[in-house]
Amino acid sequence: MSNNVQTIETHGNVHRDDVGAKMGMWLFLFTEVLLFGGMFLIYAVYRFQYPDQFHIAGMELSTTIGTINTIILLTSSLTVALSITALQKGNKLLSVSMLSLTLFFALFFMVNKYFEWSAKFSHGLYPGSDEMLAKQNGEILFFGLYFVMTGLHGFHVLIGIVLLSVILAFIIKDKITPNNFVKLENSGLYWHLVDLIWIFLFPLFYLIQ
């Protein structure tokens, strides 16, 4: 069997290296961490500079929606991990349904985000609004960071939705199989990263007040 795979690889002239593929993905995730790291650094600097105003601004955020979204994302991380394990064990149906569930959670997260942001906008809380410019500098910065950081995170969730949908199609079409599932694993890693970043965003904006 393994001999067979070997021949296919050589004849197809396609180089396959699962360890290498995962290493590349980890390096990419590392760059993502640094991308958000720059933002966390800016957050730290301004929190230190305007502690009281950050406190006041933080009261405006809804801890309930934040908590619900945290639970949703954590659960979606679980389902994507289950999907990988299911495929490894050869259970395609379970893998497909777990991945679909992950996508459902991701969409759910975005819908919540949409309502959360629209509520802010309807209160006149968006960058450059008169309401916002009337506030103190620290509060303007808090909301500026809030929109940029959760916005960038939301953008990553959207990319994740596209990515996982493509992977789902690959599994259904048997392009990702129990013998060759590194693409699914890598997408799972990406999804965990999106989750991980949220785990830091949640306390920094919704909990510390």
Binding site: G20, T31, G38
Partner: protein, 546 residues
Amino acid sequence: MANGTIAANGKTFYEEGTTKAKTGLTAWIFSTDHKRIGLMYLSAISIFFSAAVIIALLMRLELIAPGKTIMEPQTYNSLFTLHGVIMIFLFIIPGIPAVFGNFFLPLQIGAKDVSFPRLNLLSFWIYIIGAFLVLLSLALPGGPIDTGWTFYIPYSVRSGTNISLAIFAAFVLGFSSILTGLNFITTVHRLRAPGMSWFKMPLFVWATYATAWIQIIATPVIGITILLVIIERFFGVGIFDPALGGDPILYQHLFWIYSHPAVYIMILPAMGVVSEIIPTFARRTIFGYRAIAMSSLAIAFVGYLVWAHHMFTSGISDAARIIFSLLTFIVALPSGVKVFNWVATMYKGSIDPKPPFLWVMSFIVLFSIGGLTGLVLGSLATDIHLHDTYFVVAHFHYVMFGGTGTIFFAALYYWFPKMFGRLYNTKLANIGVALFFIAFNLLYFPKFILGYMGMPRRYYDYLSEFTSLQLISTIGSWVMAIALIIVIGNIVHGIFRGPKSTSNPWGGVTLEWHTSSPPPLENFHEIPTVTHEPYDFSQLEEMKNE
């Protein structure tokens, strides 16, 4: 080397590609072959380099005499910004890693290709898109950017020119750089030929590996920083804007956290090329192999901790300035380790001064001047006087153009026979190097003196006492233009009309010289097994029988 055999009837990578189309444009632009991608980068980079050189010549012509000569002040502001943006983001940063790293990294470690060939092609395309966006920012209404390549806040938020598009272009180019970096790291970890342990890797591979780490660690930070400038311009979130409570100095910190390591992205691969050329033409193994390999990593690491030396006059605390000044001196140590080891390699060597070696000699002189004047700028007391003067411009051009630029040509002249299977005219090449060296000093050395006398950089006009030195510098720019025409013309002529080269014209012993010139599609006819140290010239006798 037992199995580096060369099949006489093998097709070269020019005759056999990875695409369905055998010839024509699509056989190149959709090729995942690392060698073709390297050559595509070479052609793109040559175009951008020539464009930026022409811009520089126009600026020098404007500065030939005080007052207005050929252009308006606003045009001058746009030109120096463009010169910087094109040279930095489109030529020097991708330069050696994208062209020679792509072409020779897999060859030197005995691999068929990089780890992710399709991602490699994607990086190239992203690079082209980024370059296109830069050009687009010139043409659109609003006008070319005028902030200097550093995009300092608050002017970059206030300026009405096409800053957002140009910054987005820099972001896109950074993405290309990250993908290339992670590709190279994975390739070095996973695809080394049997027997090639870490300390048998050629030093160019070590240097490119260290560079790749800087690319993936530093680039995301500038990515987010410049994205924030765009967001600032569109939405006014206030993160860097002092009017809304933001801190422009914080922007400078974040900018230089990337952009200082970026100068090591520019210089480290060049140092790697030097470590290849010197042993080959001195016929002697490199002195202090491990010291050179480790100093690349040391530069990559310490290079992270010196960024605030660009900000000595920006308004940061004395304690911070003293610490960053000290760290700046420390980063000179690994560079010194390299220079001493190179010179020691030549000692008692059998030196054959072919053109690539002459380029390297020119590099050592120019780079040493650039490096030592860097220490003048790294000292707090002198920097206060010299900050933002022509002294900085001269220092920067000595290290970047005299360092990386010179080595870009050295690498081109060294690996030319391997890349194209032909030779250039040696006599003309020697004249080119000599003229380049003279022109370089004529062009940039007066700037040290001008800067010391107080001539500020980026100024459109100047006092009459600076006239004679400015004139010398402008004349130097004309000589430089002639030198570059000779240097590049010789290469272009060689590509089409040069005599056929043998597979190993210089007597190099690293793996790329074990295969035919130009190499076949999969680089080697048999995967090589490495048994020797990288610069063990005792293999030359065996190689003659291959």
